[in-house]
């Protein structure tokens, strides 16, 4: 950067090869498509829980899945918007995960109240968090890799939301795979660690997405 003439020449040469970034919604849909394929492959390899179809008819289980899908969609679109300097001037949609999480908390609260008598707690505990983390690593790395090609001006938020997006894929997978009906276990070992992952994502976003 010391030689200003050299810099000007370099910048002038760059102008020829500008590839426009895609629309953020298109980017978000691409991420969702990739994530759903990954989820489908993971479920094919691991298998689904026993009698999943019957369980889906349980109202609160279906509501939980729907709320989780809401987080998945909103975080995907939000992460895509946060990759652009001005959030593509769609600030409200960028904050959509807040509403999705509020709805999710509400659903989990009612599901917990409806869980009476409470379903027995499974014998395992942190293994669920670990499984979700391992499954989420690849989508998280991929999302970060793609986001680095853009120019986020909200690096910590972008990182946090990207991690929540990746974590929601892992959470969806485990909910469809694990034979477990205990809401307390799900809250404690599936969803509460999401907060920690969001914070780690924010920290990583600041480090990795800076440009």
């Amino acid at each position: 950067m010391s030689n200003i003439d050299e810099l000007i020449n370099k910048l002038a040469q760059d102008t020829a090869a500008v590839k426009r970034a895609p629309h953020p919604f298109l980017l978000g849909i691409e991420w969702m498509g990739g994530a759903l394929s990954y989820l489908a492959v993971s479920l094919m390899l691991s298998g689904t829980r026993h009698a999943l179809w019957l369980k889906v008819h349980d109202f609160w289980f279906a509501a939980e899945l729907a709320a989780l899908v809401g987080i998945f969609i909103s975080t995907s679109l939000s992460a895509a918007l946060l990759s652009y300097p001005d959030l593509h001037q769609k600030r409200r949609i960028a904050f959509a995960p807040v509403a999705a999480f509020a709805l999710f908390v509400l659903v989990m609260f009612f599901a917990w109240r409806a869980d009476s008598p409470p379903a027995p707690l499974p014998v395992h505990s942190f293994e669920c968090t670990l499984s979700i983390t391992l499954l989420s690593l690849l989508p998280a790395a991929w999302t970060f890799y793609v986001m680095r090609k853009f120019a986020s001006t909200h690096t910590h938020w972008a990182g946090g939301i990207a991690f929540l997006f990746a974590f929601s894929i892992g959470a969806l997978w485990l909910r469809l795979y694990e034979q477990n009906d205990s809401i307390m276990h799900v809250i404690q070992w599936h969803y509460l660690p999401m907060i920690g992952f969001g914070i780690i994502g924010m920290w990583l976003g600041k480090k990795i997405l800076n440009w």
């Binding site: 910048l11 500008v18 629309h23 300097p85 001005d86 959030l87 001037q89 001006t153």
Partner: protein
């Protein structure tokens, strides 16, 4: 400013021509400015002296001095007779320059000049 312009150039692929450009430019400028201010203040903190580093100097006595009454008195005695008398009258006996001048038969201004020269000599000798 240069950093902002370079950033705008680097992020130009994220600009959508169908949207107003000002919010886009402003977002990048704000981001770079925050970056610059963060680095600036962090650098200032980095270069600031740690209190522990200057602690040993803080312990140094600021009211004590190696110069004692005896050493000053000794140095005064080494001065020429006239200068030593003037200082003794002014600082031991408490006379003013005018009173000293009347006492030893000199002009007041000459007493002041002699006293000033005596101070200079004392200062040099005591600081040595």
């Amino acid at each position: 400013m240069q950093e902002i312009l370079i950033s705008i150039h680097k992020a130009r692929h994220t600009y959508d021509g169908n949207r107003p450009y000002k919010p886009w430019v402003y977002a990048i400028a704000k981001f770079r400015l925050q970056d610059h201010l963060r680095a600036h203040y962090s650098d200032q903190l980095h270069h600031a002296d740690d209190l522990s580093e200057i602690e040993e100097f803080l312990h140094a006595p600021v009211t004590e001095s190696a110069i004692s009454y005896e050493s000053i008195s000794g140095e005064v005695q080494k001065l020429p007779e006239k200068q030593a008398t003037i200082l003794r009258l002014m600082h031991q006996d408490g006379y003013t320059a005018k009173e000293v001048a009347e006492k030893i038969g000199m002009k007041e201004s000459a007493v002041k000049v002699a006293a000033h020269r005596a101070y200079q000599v004392l200062k040099e000798n005591l600081e040595r």
